[in-house]
Symmetry: C2
Subunit: 636 residues, 2 copies
């Protein structure tokens, strides 16, 4: 019983008890209800049905196409400062965005042709550069952007809901966090990337957008293409600068995020896969371009103002359809498609993180598949970081936009440079044409990235420009750590084989009772040098123990140590040092055997000092001691 001694501050006891309670808590039940039963590894590819490109299209389109819900608004917001005479600029800016979209799609089609098994910017860079630095730049940028995609999409979806139901406006942050949590749980349960049900919201949203745009045209046919509310076209607003136009352009470019999804998912397409992917890209490009241009045009014609609690999409819908059923359908489909976009990120981010972690750049835990076969650790990291962003920016889309899309454009640039290198290396038919296209693409995307960084620097881009190098440096040092360890652990199987060593076994005893009987029995069963150590807090108990030990027939050598400070740890540590340095040299292994009470009921832990746990935690961290815990399960 004298083992039960407060040798550290009692608060450490409390902490140990808390740790035990955590471990004892039936976490599994909660997990099973939320996440479901675990799945076998071989179920991984079982439910995989390949899809025709036109069925896959809406599923893969959510990420890019949903961006139309916030891209034009983000551009328009930047023009507000210049007054109504600047509103017409949304038209050339959107046109420029669409041209950039076309170029990116051409580049991605070339990427698909080169890497039919799906290759994001990270894989392309890894394949084409000896040094993995550029691959890491691309990977880190994309990871950051994935996190922003979740934050921006969810925030925008919730903002649209709050436009429809102003009562929700004060709760946007909470609602957004709730959405992230739900998406996380659904993804931890495991969702098939290719579930057809995911295509419905996107199709619905596409239909809604097309309906909206055609209603707009019909409206303009009746009321004129220049309406009373239409701001003047082509005027040069006062205070206009190239900088301001570029800012608006880069904000509008947030509509271009998500292009990479199709190229990552080529393997889910039905044969011929490449052709399917190319068709999907062209179709997606056309419909996105049409939507962006149409939407921007109607925004201009109606001259809608940017207001805090009513998105432009909501205003335009209201203008054409009032506050009725169609309005509701459009708002809800917007929320759904944005949630789908966030949801698809919960596939993309963990896959990329697993790929990067597989190369040793991120903690290995990210490469492990969870119970439901998804990369659950990656999902949790994504959810946590995007929740943090939502919390920090109060789910405000326009505040998040300046951080967004830089990552994507950096990754685009790396991918294009990689492809260019590839054409130079592989050559093949028309390689010069391909190489020039990708070179041109690289120049453009690099320029866009620079424009982003410069124009958005003060309004938030600096965050990304600080986080990105830190992430890259951390990744490098993680890989260095893993490499060092791999080297440290490597052995030559021919020469380095396990051998029997000299072991000194020390048994910590607290008296003579059943637990000590059990512990000593175990120790002498292993039959090496066994020393029992008793730590006495006063002379009386020391003498009593020595005498009882003799009566017990001295099952092994007993060493009694006096502890003046009523602690176990320091005298024990001193004794271990003595064993290490005594004549005969240090034994190869010092082996400490400790008993641990395991009460029947968790609250009984309060009644039994868990000194063994604390001794173990300290010694294992600070000394090279093998520690054996002999549990004694109390019956009562």
């Amino acid at each position: 019983m004298s083992l039960m001694v407060s040798w550290l501050h009692p608060m450490l006891d409390v902490m140990a008890v808390v740790a035990i309670l955590y471990a004892g808590f039936n976490f599994q039940t909660v997990k099973r209800v939320l996440i479901g039963e675990p799945m076998r590894t071989r179920e991984l590819h079982a439910s995989h049905n390949r899809l025709a490109w036109y069925i896959a299209l809406p599923i893969l389109a959510a990420d890019l196409y949903s961006s139309v819900a916030y891209g034009p608004e983000a551009g328009m917001t930047e023009l507000v400062a210049l007054g109504p005479s600047a509103k017409w600029l949304i038209l050339p800016i959107t046109a420029a965005t669409v041209i950039l979209l076309a170029m990116l799609i051409v580049s991605y089609i070339m990427g698909v042709m080169a890497y039919p098994n799906g290759g994001g910017a990270y894989a392309i860079a890894k394949d084409n550069f000896k040094n993995s630095f550029l691959a890491l730049v691309a990977g880190s940028s994309l990871l950051i952007d994935y996190i922003l995609t979740v934050a921006v999409s969810i925030s925008s979806g919730v903002q649209n809901m709050a436009s429809a139901y102003p009562i929700l406006a004060p709760y946007q942050t909470t609602l957004a966090l709730l959405c992230v949590f739900i998406i996380l749980v659904v993804n931890l349960r495991g969702v098939s990337e290719s579930a057809k049900v995911f295509s419905y919201p996107t199709v619905l949203f596409m239909v809604c957008m097309i309906l909206l745009i055609f209603t707009g045209f019909a409206n303009e046919l009746r009321h004129g293409f220049v309406q009373p509310s239409t701001p003047p076209f082509g005027t040069v607003p006062q205070g206009i600068t190239t900088m301001l136009i570029l800012r608006a352009f880069s904000s509008a470019c947030s509509a271009l995020t998500g292009i990479e999804t199709i190229s990552n998912s080529v393997p889910i397409l039905r044969d011929p896969q490449q052709k399917g992917a190319i068709k999907a890209y062209i179709a997606l490009g056309l419909i996105t371009a049409f939507t962006l241009l149409g939407f921007a045009y109607h925004l201009y014609v109606r001259g809608l103002p940017v207001v805090p609690n009513n998105t432009l999409l909501s205003q335009l819908t209201q203008a054409y359809f009032g506050h009725g059923v169609i309005y509701q359908v459009i708002i809800w489909s917007t929320l759904l498609v944005l949630i789908m976009a966030a949801n698809s990120t919960f596939t993309g981010f963990p896959q990329l993180a697993a790929l990067v972690a597989g190369d040793g750049f991120l903690p290995r835990a990210l490469t492990l598949r969870g119970d439901r076969l998804g990369y659950s650790n990656g999902m949790i990291v994504l959810a946590a970081l995007s929740a943090l962003l939502i919390e920090a920016f109060n789910a405000n889309t326009n505040a998040l936009i300046p951080l967004y899309a830089i990552g994507v454009f950096i990754a685009f640039t790396v991918a294009q440079v990689g492809l260019t290198r590839r054409w130079f290396r592989v050559r093949g038919p028309k390689w010069t044409v391909k190489a020039s296209i990708n070179t041109f693409g690289a120049v453009i995307t690099a320029s866009v990235a620079v424009i982003f960084a410069v124009t958005k620097f003060s309004s938030g881009a600096w965050v990304v420009l600080i986080v990105l190098p830190i992430l890259i440096l951390t990744a490098w040092s993680i890989r260095r750590h893993y490499n060092h360890i791999a080297e440290e652990l490597r052995i030559d199987v021919k020469t380095m084989r396990p051998e029997s060593h000299r072991v000194v076994t020390i048994v910590l005893v607290s008296g003579i009772h059943r637990v000590v009987l059990n512990t000593i029995s175990f120790a002498i069963s292993m039959h090496k040098e066994v020393i029992a150590v008793y730590i006495a807090f006063n002379d009386e108990s020391a003498k009593k123990m020595e005498q009882k030990w003799e009566e017990w027939g001295e099952p092994c050598r007993l060493v009694v140590i006096h502890s003046e400070y009523r602690t176990l740890l320091q005298p024990l540590a001193r004794f271990l040092k003595r064993v290490e340095t005594r004549e005969g040299g240090r034994p190869d292994h010092i082996h400490l055997v400790i008993a641990q009470f395991i009460p029947k009921k968790w609250w009984h832990y309060v009644l039994h000092n868990q000194s063994s746990l604390l001794i173990r935690a300290w010694l294992i961290r600070h000394k090279d001691v093998v520690i054996t815990t002999v549990p004694y399960h109390l019956h009562k």
Copy 2:
């Protein structure tokens, strides 16, 4: 490396890491700064200087005498509802309180004569009743009341400060909690019960009270003993009931808490100890009676109203001295004496808790002396519970009063009954007189306890009447648990001796590398049946491992287990079950050897899955398996 597998939900990983960080955190430094260097056990009685009774008196008086700061006010508060015509009742009520005080002092003097080495109600009851139930009732009641003493004293002190400085009023709870924390830290550092410095605040406060009362008389000599503000005397206010008078009486009795302190501290007095204690009791009784009566009389004469943010003590002082230096001195000395009262409880509670825990009724940890030789666990429990009360009652003295003093009077009653039994048993000179005094005392204190319980039931006493039986029941079940365990652990040293048993050692291996080499070397050094177990997540890794094991020269038997669910724990548990039930019978000990990575830097834990920790935590709780952890300290 395949040990690094997420076999439980990744959040458990996070929890394990947090637990490790806690253990690794340099708690010692913080502790040393706050608490000081540890002290040797033999220093326990070194600094003990015995005191003459008149020097010890103010030190031991703080608890009782400080009660005058809130007792009369508590009684007056109860009379408020009846209007000014009831104010005169404070005089007979205070007189009754003083009579009760005299009786209690007589009883305690008899207690001191019977138990010269100090004996509280718990010790008296334990000595005089075979069954320890009544002792437990007394002990639990006192423990509860000690907690209330801290809460009430600190709250009252802070309330007086807030009367002087209204700016503090909104922060009373915070200030009170801060006081508790400071008193805790000071007591954890260790304060000698007999430090003379502790007498100064009480002497100062006594002087202040006497000054206040004589100033009152001087004032009345000049302005008349019946002043314009004096309420009528002897009128029967409308709505008066016996119940209301008893309520006011029981509130006023809160001034009687703390009488037991002297009887607990007889050993610190200079010889002749008993005579000194008796003199101290008489002196303390006289001065307390004088102060209570004088204070109550002046309150009546001035007809002061009970208001929320200005205590009666503060009002009376203001009336005589204005808001000047003397007022400041009185208010500060009130705060100090109340803090002294709380402080003396930090000696009383842990000592009593250690006594009760020593009898097995409370967790053993309460009997352990901390670094500075005080019962630090008891101090922490007291601080935590009184802080909880302060928080729950927002440091409102009048809300706490109804819970207060019941415990003391229950304990008084048990002690008197115990003394009566003692006189019947021991007899001795004038035993019949003594027995009748204590019998009478028991009847009175029991009546007071019942009056308390009935009159204060709805306003808070019910809390105590619920908590008390729960505490007693818990204490009984704790003792039953300890008794069961003592019985379970008891062995016959002649017949039950350690023997060598059959042990099966199982080594969990994650591949072939330096860590496994080290672990297997240790296991075969112990040279018993060793089985290496490898858990494979796919056929490929299983085959590879078997082949490499052969190349390695098969240092021991290898068992490869397939894990379909990518977890280590379930297949391992299944394997252990197989070992238990296979032919040849269950081995006496199943011994599992696990390697544990110990990184150099704490943040490296994130990079290494701590599966071994989690496996250990689960197995040790749920299986009868001896677990050995072989640490591998990473060099980089």
